[in-house]
């Protein structure tokens, strides 16, 4: 079959699914809705597998049509399938399909079920455009499109004002990033005269390391990445985004959309390698985000909020990898994170489902007896994210930390601190939820049940992947490293120093040992606190002091933004509307008044006296003659 056609089919299937369920909302029977949308996702997955298995190593480009063209600028609607887009496609369609299937069980009883599945399909469509587009503007279509779907799905239960506010916050914060992205595209057009990846990266190899223009471009693009991938200072929308139904959190706000920023940088690796200053800045922001978010995660009591902060933190690790030009390691962590974080969110969804929509872990406990499948899979996910060998997260995180170690020991140490926190908050979550005594109401206890097969099956698949995912890239140059190597040819050419640091085996084993020890140590600490001592976090109303209060309230960052940005803009709006408009209009009215007053005076000259008119005429002529005499014009 024609590869052009295959490429277009990948995003087309979900679009069709969206059209059927969207236009037929409340007409398509519930039983069909889930089947249609899941079939659409699976069809894209199948096509992706076909492309993957037939992939020769050479990028495939398929141009559909000339989308926007002005003068010499042509923006094609076209796709590019290469190693990077294939990896993203596999994650998006693979994990995406599982989450579609899961959603059938999770959302079936919601009155907006058809709408929900339609939005999920629409999300897939845009996400697939994002990762398969062959130029930055197509990426931008996907970029903004997934933002829209994120908005629609966060505010899915739109009667709740708080959920709507969370949705709006997500959209607006992403738009801040998008402006950076857009300006980056404009600079790319100015610099390279094109938006096509192949054109730009080919030309970029002729630039010198440290070029100012490249610095500006990479920084602007990174602003876009900060918004979409929730990095400081644009991260606060992601925890709030948990207002959306849990499958949305798993798909959009953990496994796929939020990793778009990493995708963008790996895609643009030549540009970033050319700009070491940008990489340093990314590294700084990444480690700060990783640690800040992890520390907030330590004290959260909402099962989804813990996972949300964990996501922000893990995204920080991915960027940390990119910041030392370890692009493959960053992508590796994207992949393993997609497995275990989707698993954890879906597991959390299963718990919430069983608990009749309770999300507070202080009211859970002892659930392992009632939800055995959820428990075991959640346990595996926890071990994976904590970085305990031989599970997936261990390998990917360790690879990042090893590269960071070579680059900067202080960053590595901080990374290790974050790692310790990760292990602690995850085991805390696990212990409080599944161990000890049940702390909820009698009624909740009565309703406890394991979720249906449509929900547990995806959990099992993801759990298996979380366990064995590390095989993709075993230390010492695994499959992924070789597969992705061609992507970095340009980078290696422009700045060879940034690459090729071989780590000797002795150091590598030592680093592995340290990470493992830290992870297990933290897990034990969590065990001591929450199992041996049976501690339960203090209720909402409890007095907290000092650091605990600061961390529990998320460092008051939201409040800071409210005071420093939101309220001043509102005040400015009121000021401009009340004072600014009044003054401008006042000037307009004053001018009108002057004209009227002047004409009232001039009117008096029209007295009707012929004598005066003749005098005026003669006088004027005399003036003109005299003026003409002195001034020649």
């Amino acid at each position: 079959m024609q590869t052009d056609l295959l490429c277009s089919l990948i995003p087309l299937f979900p679009l069709i699914g969206f059209a059927i369920n969207g236009l037929g909302f409340r007409k398509v029977p519930t039983s069909l809705v889930g089947a249609i949308s899941s079939a659409a996702a699976l069809a894209s997955f199948a096509v992706t597998l076909m492309l993957f298995s037939g992939f020769s190593g050479q990028p495939i480009k398929a141009t559909l049509f000339d989308w926007i063209s002005v003068g010499s600028l042509h923006i094609n609607f076209s796709f590019q399938i290469d190693q990077l887009s294939l990896l993203m496609l596999l994650i998006v369609t693979g994990v995406g399909s599982l989450i579609h299937i899961y959603s059938i069980g999770y959302m079936k009883h919601d009155e907006g079920f058809g709408k929900f599945m339609a939005f999920l399909n629409l999300f897939l469509f845009f996400m697939l455009l994002l990762v398969t587009g062959s130029n930055y503007v197509i990426m931008f279509i996907g970029w903004e499109g997934v933002g829209l779907c994120s908005y629609l799905l966060i505010g899915f239960w739109n009667k709740n004002v708080n959920y709507n506010n969370a949705a709006r916050k997500a959209f607006v914060m992403n738009r801040i990033g998008d402006l950076g992205f857009l300006l980056g595209i404009f600079l790319l057009i100015t610099t390279f005269g094109s938006v096509e990846y192949t054109d730009i990266f080919e030309q970029a190899t002729r630039f010198a390391v440290g070029d100012k223009m490249i610095l500006a471009i990479t920084l602007l693009l990174f602003v876009g990445a900060m918004g979409k991938s929730a990095q400081i200072p644009l991260y606060t929308w992601l925890p709030d985004a948990m207002a959306g139904p849990t499958p949305v959190s798993a798909l959009i706000h953990a496994a796929t959309m939020v990793t778009a920023g990493i995708y963008m940088i790996v895609r643009s690796n030549v540009l970033y390698t050319l700009s070491p200053v940008t990489l340093e800045i990314i590294g700084f922001i990444a480690i700060a985000t990783a640690i800040l978010a992890a520390s907030i995660g330590l004290l959260q009591n909402d099962i989804k909020k813990v996972l949300a902060y964990s996501t922000v933190s893990q995204l920080g690790y991915m960027f940390l990898g990119l910041s030392v030009a370890a692009y493959t390691s960053g992508m590796f962590h994207v992949i393993t994170h997609a497995f275990f974080k989707a698993l954890l969110f879906l597991g959390a969804g299963s718990v919430i489902h069983a608990m009749s929509d309770e999300q507070d872990i202080r009211k859970m406990g002892g659930l392992r007896k009632h939800l055995p499948v959820t428990f075991i899979t959640f346990l595996l996910g926890t071990i994976a994210i904590a970085g305990i060998p031989p599970f997936a997260g261990f390998f990917s995180k360790d690879e990042i930390l090893a590269h960071v170690f070579l680059h900067n020991k202080a960053l590595w140490a901080l990374g290790l601190v974050g790692s310790a926190m990760t292990s602690f908050y995850m085991f805390r979550l696990l212990f409080l939820t599944f161990f000890g005594e049940f702390r909820g109401t009698q009624e909740q206890h009565h309703h406890l049940h394991e979720s249906p097969a449509t929900m547990t099956l995806p959990l099992i698949v993801l759990a298996v992947l979380s366990v064995i995912g590390g095989l993709l890239n075993l230390p010492g140059g695994g499959w992924l490293t070789h597969f992705m190597e061609p992507l970095f040819a340009g980078s290696a050419q422009v700045n060879p120093e940034a690459f090729g640091h071989e780590i000797d085996h002795g150091t590598e084993y030592m680093l592995m040992g340290i990470s493992t020890a830290v992870a297990i140590g933290s897990a034990i600490a969590a065990y001591v606190v929450y199992i041996s001592r049976n501690a339960v976090p203090a209720p909402e109303s409890a007095e907290r002091s000092g650091i605990a209060k600061l961390v529990y309230n998320k460092y008051f960052v939201d409040e800071l933004y409210e005071v420093a940005i939101v309220r001043p803009i509102r005040a400015l709006g009121d000021l401009l509307y009340n004072a600014g408009e009044f003054i401008i209009d006042g000037i307009v009215n004053a001018v009108a008044w002057l004209v009227r007053a002047a004409s009232a005076q001039l009117r008096l000259l029209q007295s009707g006296s012929i004598g005066f008119y003749v005098f005026a005429m003669v006088f004027s002529i005399a003036v003109i003659v005299i003026v003409r005499f002195f001034v020649r014009f």
């Binding site: 063209s69 739109n158 709006r168 607006v172 402006l179 509307y577 009108a592």
Partner: protein, 487 residues
Amino acid sequence: MLTLSLILLPVVAATLLLLIKSPAVKTLALGAALVELALAAYAFATFKADAQMQFEFDYPWIASAGIRFSGGIDGISVLLVLLTGLLTPLIVLSAFGRDYDRPSTFYSLILYMQAALMGVFTARDAFLFYLFFEAALIPVYFLAAMWGGEKRIAVTFKFFIYTIFGSLFMLVALVYLYYQTGVPGKPGVHSSAIVDFYNLNLTPAAQGWVFWAFFVAFAIKMPVFPFHTWQPDTYVESPTPATMLLSGIMLKMGVYGLIRFLLPIVPVGLDTWGTLATTLSVIGIVYGSIIAIRQRDMKRLIAYSSFAHVGLMAAGVFSQTANGLQGALIQMLAHGINVVGLFFVAEIIFGRTNSRFLDQLGGITRTTPKLTVYFMILLLGSVALPLTNGFVGEFLLLNGVFAYNNWLGAVAGLTIILGAVYMLRMFQKSMFGPTSARTETFDDLSGAESWVLLPLAVMVFWIGIYPNSFLKVTEPAVMNLLQYVVK
């Protein structure tokens, strides 16, 4: 002949309507507007994408003075002819939901308005242009003054005087330019053909003041900051069909004038004063957006958003780039569609709840899947989401302004953030959340209402997904115009 029919058909139809006193008058008005749409669509479809004037007509008018009654359609005007043809029947249809007194006068004024607008966009003679430019004011003035809200008399008077005042500057400039034309060896022979103004050798000083004369006239019309204070009140007080005419089509007269007159006639003036003009436009974008964030009246909110959007179009023209001009042309079409749609949504909500205040609304989506979807589509177009019409225009415009001046481009770019803030706020406060007493029972769209919104939604996606069907049509004319720009 086609162009002349585009002007005359609405005049004839409107005059006949005045004689009819039956309730069928609105259907007849719709029929006339649809025939006009067919003509406009035919003109668009058969338009050859080159830089030439097409479908011309040319008759002596004041022959001794070289002033002619001549018109035609070129790449700069073709989209505006299409826009005027497309929006008028929708505006007529949108008025069906409400019973206006003296319907024959009401609907014939809309058609007179359409004729004047067609005249403005197709005139090839400067004085003919001026005539239509002023004539367009009269029907909409009466629409606003006779069917408007409580403060209509004061507000429309101000609007009328303000815009007339602005056009007088243009008249002075036109007369001046007219006297600069001439044939060597034949004193006293002048021409008022607009193209003859393009090749005048004006001194830099003359270019400077002619620039400002045109600028003030068009800046008031659009409006550009700080000439905008007539606009929000007029949009709010006018009956919604008049608001749609004003915002959907009439303000484009200003942008069109900038492209038609400023760019080719006074390129040196533009080169000298362009940065100041662009800065004013960009201030308007941010100023209008920030005010829009705080509005509670839907109509006033949309008015300020329109003010912000038009600032970007003006800035795009002043950037004197292909991107900026192409962006301005396609954005005029896109903005006309979106703003008419949004005003219609506000009208629908007002019609059902007797309120346009966001704090009195909410939860409307509960009973209105159709309205929600259309509202959302228009909103997405308005906030320039890719694959909708607004994106193509804003992308090109911002790119043009950015190429002209990086900092101004970046500030203008704030529109994509602030636009999302005020639009989503409006959507959320009206459609989502708990229902209020006024929105408890809210009927979804009627058939006629759907027929207004459906074509608009189709256009939102058509322009967004395949903009080349419009960009290719205007490109040769734009490239031709750019020859005049000072390099």
